[in-house]
């Protein structure tokens, strides 16, 4: 999960392939895209929907991918990012974020419940951040992307990415 998107993306390509190995893409990239959109939206159901859209769009547009311009995972995350932006443009703000803000800080002993609880609270805090910060946090911790990969996806400089992420995490820490 924490492996570098930028470095591992080449493994989805066969030796002399002109298209990615979609089984490899699926296994390797689905968790990253799903968690990017999960962190980004704060809503697991919505994240599933947006992830499906991302993979379908990537598949349909695969002929537009240019290997000489970007790593496949970077290209895929750009699509995921655009899918999320498109969704926000057309959808009303969904309630779960507001509901999550009231989620208890302490969950049940079960791991899943803890994760859900932490995620709910974390999502509520992330939702308060500027949109750009949310995007970067989702790329960093959801997609497991390096600052360099995030810079490629967002168009920001690598150092700027690092600075924004540092401040965003500091803000979250203060609010936690």
């Amino acid at each position: 999960m924490t492996s570098d998107v930028h470095e591992t993306s080449g493994s989805v390509w066969g030796a002399a392939a002109t298209e990615p190995d979609w089984e490899a893409v699926f296994s390797e990239q689905l968790p990253r895209v799903y968690n990017f959109l999960r962190y980004r939206s704060g809503n697991e159901t919505l994240a599933e929907d947006l992830t499906s859209r991302t993979f379908e769009k990537a598949w349909r547009d695969r002929h537009r991918y240019r290997r000489d311009l970007a790593k496949f995972s970077t290209w895929l995350l750009r699509i995921a990012s655009n899918v999320a932006v498109d969704h926000r443009r057309t959808a009303h703000e969904h309630a779960p974020l507001e509901a999550a803000a009231e989620a208890p800080a302490e969950g049940t002993p079960e791991d899943e419940a803890v994760i859900r609880s932490n995620f709910a609270r974390l999502s509520a805090l992330i939702a308060k951040l500027p949109d750009r910060d949310r995007e970067l946090l989702a790329l960093k911790y959801g997609a497991g992307a390096t600052n360099r990969a995030i810079a490629e996806v967002t168009g920001l400089s690598e150092s700027n990415v690092g600075t924004i992420l540092h401040r965003a995490v500091q803000t979250l820490r203060a609010e936690w």
């Binding site: 968790p31 799903y34 599933e48 993979f55 379908e56 598949w59 498109d86 960093k140 995490v169 979250l172």
Partner: protein, 326 residues
């Protein structure tokens, strides 16, 4: 709070969800395989309007000696794609000594000119304007919504044969082993193109157009040897002599519409649309990355109506739309 905490909320996608996405991608993958498995052929005229022009082109060599014409002899049941070399026609159309556009234009008389398309509020209004029961797809790709419904008025054209000009066309194509039937000179074929309903669908990335109309009515002289005339037409379209002869002899020319399509840019396959023979065509474009999909088309007829779906969605999606038209 540190990176570990930020990552602690990370979780694997639910297995059911992962399986659903995987299944969907596999389905898309198999759809792509079927597209890549198409026979290389042609690009078809762009719409039902273009289809009518194709019909006109098809009926032109059918004009034959004989006095009595009757309506509805020709009825579109089957679609037969024929590969054509587009550069062959481009070169011919540009030949100054032949002036083919003018020459052919002189043989076409507009008996009833079409009016500008009329925008209507809904399918019911379109049906009233066109005099048909308008059908619509009950399934559409996600996001694709109806945007515009237009109805174009009917029109009638008459084609008159000139053996001298047809001979010049045959000569221009270098066809010297076929002769024109006797008595064809001055005979006419009339094509009535009914009103056409066009429904445009649009999403952020895709445009699809559904066209529907009654069967065109074609009248031409009785007692003609359609197969012999069709063979001439097939040769003009670029088919090789032996193939054109076999094709012409094995096709029912009273129920088959020839669809000329450029051989260098498209792929096609014949399909079954709600129990009716149809034709699915994908136009492609060539780039440094190879042959890439561009646009898909499905043509089919049902009862007394003819349909065409044209759009930049995947051919399987367009086909699914066609199957859902009710």
């Amino acid at each position: 709070m540190d990176d570990d905490f930020m990552l602690s909320a990370w979780r694997k996608p639910p297995a059911d969800f992962a399986r659903q996405v995987r299944d969907r991608l596999h389905r898309l993958d198999s759809e792509a395989a079927s597209v890549h498995g198409f026979k290389p052929i042609s690009r078809l005229a762009a719409s039902l309007a273009a289809l009518v022009l194709v019909l006109g082109a098809f009926t032109f060599p059918q004009v034959q000696a004989g006095a009595r014409a009757f309506l509805d002899l020709f009825r579109i049941v089957n679609f037969a794609p024929v590969l054509v070399q587009s550069e062959r026609f481009s070169a011919l159309m540009e030949r100054q000594d032949l002036d083919l556009p003018r020459m052919l234009g002189e043989q076409v008389e507009v008996l009833k000119a079409p009016r500008a398309p009329q925008t209507v509020a809904d399918a019911a209004a379109a049906g009233i304007a066109a005099g048909i029961q308008v059908r619509i797809p009950t399934w559409r790709p996600v996001g694709l919504e109806p945007q515009l419904i237009e109805v174009s008025a009917d029109q009638t054209l008459r084609f008159t044969a000139s053996t001298a000009k047809l001979k010049r066309v045959l000569d221009a194509f270098g066809i010297d082993d076929l002769s024109l039937p006797d008595g064809i000179d001055g005979q006419s074929a009339t094509v009535h193109v009914p009103a056409i309903v066009r429904i445009n669908y649009r999403s952020q990335d895709h445009d699809v157009m559904l066209l529907q109309a009654r069967q065109p009515q074609v009248s031409f002289p009785a007692g003609i040897d359609l197969a012999s005339l069709a063979e001439i037409g097939l040769r003009v379209l670029g088919m090789k002599p032996g193939e054109a002869h076999r094709f012409a002899q094995n096709v029912d020319w009273r129920t088959t519409l020839i669809v000329p399509v450029p051989a260098d840019v498209s792929m096609f396959r014949q399909v079954d649309v709600q129990g009716n023979p149809g034709l699915l065509i994908q136009t492609v474009r060539r780039s440094s990355r190879g042959v890439l999909p561009k646009e898909s088309r499905v043509l089919w007829s049902s009862g007394d109506s003819v349909f065409a779906l044209v759009g930049n969605v995947w051919p399987t999606e367009l086909f699914e739309m066609a199957q859902s038209v009710r």
